[in-house]
């Protein structure tokens, strides 16, 4: 049941202009492991939501793109770590339509629905880390 990382790619996200290169990098990795177009699109969209959140609420942060395997599964694991203000109430933030900014409030819950595994940890004043996994055939 162990997850093994086959490759690791670290990217800093500082400005809005970093979003597109990051998305392209995710796509390159997804294509490398022959992910279907639908799953690629889902993963990229989820990544896009999370990276935008990071920019909007924490002013940027660090992303890690990994190709991972677990038993016979291969997939992509994305980590989004920021040092922003943190999320006071994660349960509420995961609800559809809740937003402290003026957006649709679908970023976090939507991203969760688009991927296979979703983990979020946040500490007030220290930052938020989101980890998502999308399996090739998941």
């Amino acid at each position: 049941m162990m997850i093994i990382a086959l490759s690791k790619d670290i990217m800093q996200i500082i400005r809005e202009q970093d979003v597109v290169p990051f998305r392209n990098r995710v796509k390159e990795n997804a294509v490398k492991i022959k992910m279907s177009l639908l799953n690629q699109t889902k993963l990229i969209t989820a990544a896009s939501e999370l990276v935008r959140n990071m920019l909007k609420y924490a002013g940027g942060g660090q992303t890690i793109i990994e190709i991972i395997t677990k038993e016979r599964l291969t997939g992509i694991r994305l980590t989004f770590a920021d040092q922003g203000p943190g999320i006071p109430d994660i349960q509420q933030a995961m609800k559809d339509g809740y937003s402290t900014g003026k957006s649709l409030g679908l970023g976090l819950p939507g991203a969760k629905r688009l991927v296979n595994e979703f983990a979020i940890t946040s500490e007030k004043g220290k930052g938020t880390t989101v980890i998502i996994i999308k399996w090739t055939n998941g």
Binding site: E16, V19, V20, R23, L37, L38, Q40, T41, K42, I44, T45, S48, E49, R52, D96, S103, L104, L106, G107, P109, G110, A111, R113, L114
Partner: protein, 291 residues
């Protein structure tokens, strides 16, 4: 005793210029297709004429950068021109570094009896010329950034065309990422064109948008609402299968908007709204598009 490198080097100006140009010409990196020999010579001579008189013992000893401003200015000009002409950073940097080599060489040849003084003087000159190299780097990059900025502007301008595809029907193909700034331009162009042409239907084609996340969706919804406020209807076309599924999973509600998979079906829908029919000539009572 300090070495008066200013006088020494000025005396040797001709020799410096020759060696410098020779060393630039010898470098493989020199782009003879981009800069002519004469231009290179003129450039180099002008720089030496400005630099050498400034190398007084006082200036060299104090290492004050501001006295070399005329040289810095000249170098900035050269760096920017080279950046625009498409020189590589290596070629541009070599321009200054080859001068350093020549100057230090000549100094070494001339001063044979005072190793300590030679070392100190070389050290100071080194520092000054390195300062020039930093300037060259900085301005070179600035020059390249200007090129990029200009291209960005051009792309922004050409990437949001509003096309009148029929009397009363506008189409707006969106290619690339829809961020806030793009949306602003798209919306402005679209609304203005609606007024200018008196159109009642606008088709936004998103075939060229790689990913539709909640921010893009929000921008689309805003554009549609604004179009409706102007009394026109807005159709979104070019929704690919994978985008449709992603949007549903994301939980975005686009049901209030008319969406079509292709521009052709959006146009067909527009014809229906305008009660237009497209027929093949000769085909009796059998509309080609509208049933």
């Amino acid at each position: 005793m300090s070495i008066d490198s200013a006088r020494l080097l000025q005396k040797k100006k001709k020799q410096i210029l020759e060696s410098w140009i020779n060393s630039q010409l010898a470098e493989d990196a020199l782009r003879e297709d981009m800069i002519s020999n004469d231009e290179l010579r003129a450039n180099s001579e002008e720089l030496l004429d400005t630099l050498l008189p400034l190398l007084t013992p006082k200036n060299v000893a104090e290492g004050d950068v501001s006295v070399f401003d005329p040289v810095t200015e000249l170098l900035s000009g050269i760096a920017i021109t080279r950046a625009k002409q498409g020189f590589t950073p290596r070629e541009t940097a070599f321009y200054v570094f080859s001068l350093k080599e020549v100057v230090l060489n000549i100094l070494q040849n001339e001063v044979t009896d005072d190793p300590q003084g030679l070392y100190e003087e070389s050290f100071r000159l080194n520092k000054i010329i390195d300062g020039f190299a930093v300037t060259i780097f900085e301005t070179f990059i600035k020059g390249r950034e200007e090129v990029i900025l200009r291209q960005t502007d051009e792309i922004a301008e050409i990437s949001t065309p509003v096309i009148r595809i029929w009397d009363g029907i506008l189409a707006l193909p969106i290619i690339g990422t829809l961020d806030s700034a793009r949306t602003q331009v798209v919306m402005e162009n679209l609304l203005e064109e609606i007024v200018a042409t008196g159109s009642s239907i606008a088709i936004l084609d998103i075939s060229g948008v790689p990913a539709v996340d909640s921010l893009v969706a929000q921008h689309l919804i805003k554009t549609v609402s604004a179009t409706r406020l102007m009394g026109a209807e807005c159709i979104i076309s070019g929704i690919r299968p994978e985008i449709a599924q992603t949007v549903v999973h994301l939980g975005i509600d686009l049901s209030s908007i008319i969406t079509k998979s292709t521009l052709a079906s959006a146009l067909k829908h527009a014809f229906q709204i305008l009660k237009l029919e497209v027929k093949k000539p000769g085909a009796k009572e059998r509309p080609f598009i509208n049933k």
